[in-house]
Symmetry: C2
Subunit: 405 residues, 2 copies
């Protein structure tokens, strides 16, 4: 158990082998990797200084990362997984025996579509990660201490974009000697990062797998994201972002997270999971304005728990990073998507209430316009947008084939 746990530390441990080694060692590593039982060590990547695409300096930048599988000698078997709005680097595996598994554990592992026996799968926490106060998350954002002041950045933290998320990931990969990605794959906000990778650095991305996301944030999503930000701004404890030495705006954060949960789902899920039960047997909602229904209580409980490890300012910065997104950040969406050369497998949901299917289809058309191969596949399910996270296993065969091609 300890051994396999150590084997899941791919880079720092393996660098000696990876830079000059015999075939036997490589073979042994491969065999050992097959025994991976999913225990993962979260690590930290440090940049002394990072200059944003907007020209602002953030020093230092720290982000968490983790990997599954082994980087080969040629360093050409890396697959980057980019996470969604409320996600972390934990795409697969677990941090300890009792821990929860990563969100795409069903497709990442030995013999799985993203086969850790073949690929070195790496994922990192983004800048301004939502779960800034979670024990296994390392991120840099408004909640981070600014060395010059010894205080959290707060709203002095510069606005960052999906492009900045990508450029920090690029530095992480370069620190491991990775110059080309076998593939980049991400869901939702992770899809945005994947598009950005393939558009901005087309020579470094061999395959693109955007899941439940489009090549730009469309007006519907601009407004939806704006709605997610609103409850935080309404909470008096938000205090224009200066709450770190005081009470954080947990009520506003909770309501924001409830909206995120609701929008990322679909009425099919709500109506098959819940009924009209009251939250408390003796509190009839038709007799009291304070009484609630069970579904309200459940959404409240989930959001309250998530708010404990989340940061309200980080949510606002994430909203903004998502809003500003257009692949390649160039003159036009057409130009940004034309820059993509990697064969592309797109997965989406017809019932997505966050990323409109219309915008996803338009993205596929624009990538394909200059002859880039694009396959667009619908996911089935009752969770709407979230089917891209929770029901990804149905695309297993397609993913295996696409990665092997």
């Amino acid at each position: 158990m300890q051994d396999s746990r150590r084997l899941s530390r791919p880079i720092r441990s393996y660098r000696p082998f990876a830079t000059g080694l015999c075939t036997v060692t490589a073979l042994l590593l491969t065999l050992s990797a097959q025994a991976w039982d999913g225990l993962v060590e979260k690590q930290e990547f440090l940049m002394e200084e990072y200059t944003t695409r907007g020209g602002d300096t953030i020093a230092p930048v720290r982000v968490g990362w983790e990997a599954y599988g082994t980087l080969n000698e040629e360093k050409d078997n890396a697959i980057l997984i980019t996470h969604f709005f409320s996600g972390t680097s934990q795409a697969a595996g677990r941090y300890d025996e009792d821990g929860a598994r990563g969100y795409w554990d069903s497709i990442i592992g030995p013999g799985k579509p993203l086969d850790t026996d073949k690929y070195y799968i790496i994922a990192s926490d983004t800048l301004v990660n939502l779960n800034a106060h979670a024990p296994n998350v390392t991120t840099t954002g408004p909640a981070s201490i600014r060395p010059e002041t010894g205080e959290p950045w707060g709203l002095d933290f510069p606005v960052v974009t999906i492009g900045d998320f990508v450029d920090v990931q690029k530095a992480l990969l370069e620190s491991q000697g990775i110059e080309r990605l076998h593939a980049v794959m991400g869901a939702s906000m992770g899809a945005l990062q994947a598009y950005e990778w393939a558009s901005r650095y087309p020579e470094q991305v061999e395959r693109l797998i955007p899941v439940i996301g489009s090549g730009m944030t469309d007006p519907w999503l601009l407004a939806t994201l704006s709605a997610w930000a609103a409850p935080i701004r309404l909470d008096a404890n938000w205090n224009d972002g200066a709450y770190y030495s005081d009470t954080p705006p947990l009520d506003g954060l909770r309501e924001s997270l409830k909206l995120v949960t609701l929008n990322a789902n679909h009425w099919q899920w709500a109506n098959e999971t819940f009924d009209r039960s009251w939250a408390e047997e003796n509190a009839d909602p038709s007799r009291s304005l304070e009484a609630r229904y069970a579904i309200e209580q459940t959404l409240d409980d989930i959001a309250t728990a998530r708010a404990q490890v989340a940061d309200a300012n980080h949510l606002l910065y994430l909203v903004r990073a998502n809003q500003t997104f257009m692949a390649g950040h160039g003159e036009s969406l057409e130009a940004g998507l034309a820059a993509i050369e990697a064969p592309t497998l797109m997965l989406y949901s017809e019932d997505d209430l966050v990323f409109a299917p219309q915008s996803v289809k338009r993205t596929a058309e624009l990538i394909a316009a200059d002859g880039t191969p694009v396959k667009l596949l619908p996911l089935e399910g009752t969770r709407g947008h979230l089917d891209g996270v929770l029901a990804i296993d149905q695309a297993g065969n397609e993913l295996s084939d696409f990665l092997a091609r």
Copy 2:
């Protein structure tokens, strides 16, 4: 002009004729009604005391009402129009030459599907109407002065239900001698009132036309409504509903109304109406957390204007009235819908994000289960839920035929 305006006051003016009159006078009235140019007078209905279905007393109750067309001698040509969440009694016509027209003006009028030459079409403001501070709205709710105290009711106002809305309408109709409705028709929350009428008082409803609504509020809508309430509760000025002598929670109310607008629409509308323009030419959202996109600014402007005449507590009471809805309020949805005997024409949108199409279809099945004739027709458009209000004219022929049958 003055004449036709006077003719649009259907009851108080006509009662002398309607209780004992010669055929010639009735004919003249009919001919005059044909000349109706859409000017409407808003009137007030007073109940000295009303006991809610929950057993609470509200004294007095005042609601606004208006009518188009003429009540015939037999008093059997009345069609009741019940309004949606943010609506008022103004279904058609205008209050003055320069005023805006009612939301269903395209189908109500001389020669239109709801033909004012044939029918007496009446509509009233509900209890706890959202637009409590609008000049043409009369309603009773938390913002109303309670005679015992001389102060607004605030949260001492009892929780009211869709059933209470219906029972106040019933009293209004009875005050005009109307015992049977040729039809009841309403959109969204108006559909809930229509179902309730037909389920609770089946012998008084000859035709039922529910638009974009289902026979009960499903769990998805319970949660959606809950999200609409949240911003108000987050606004410190809400002060547990006691804001009438102080600053009202306009920020929270504005954010609530933005959510209502967004949810009642659809991504097709947002993406065909807006682009990624910034709200201000020199305020780049990628450089400032405060800068905004045009769609955000537009939704904000609309909601800010609407908040000026709306009342935050009324919104909370409306949320609750909608949440508690199940047709007939009996043992089960099946029983509530089985009680409906009126032939039913249901209009809905497949892209409705408020009332799930699945729930609408289930409602149609349950009404039809005991042989009640039901026709279910989809509306086309890009506005989602709102197509039931904005694109109703496409159902004109169906409505004409259904009302004439």
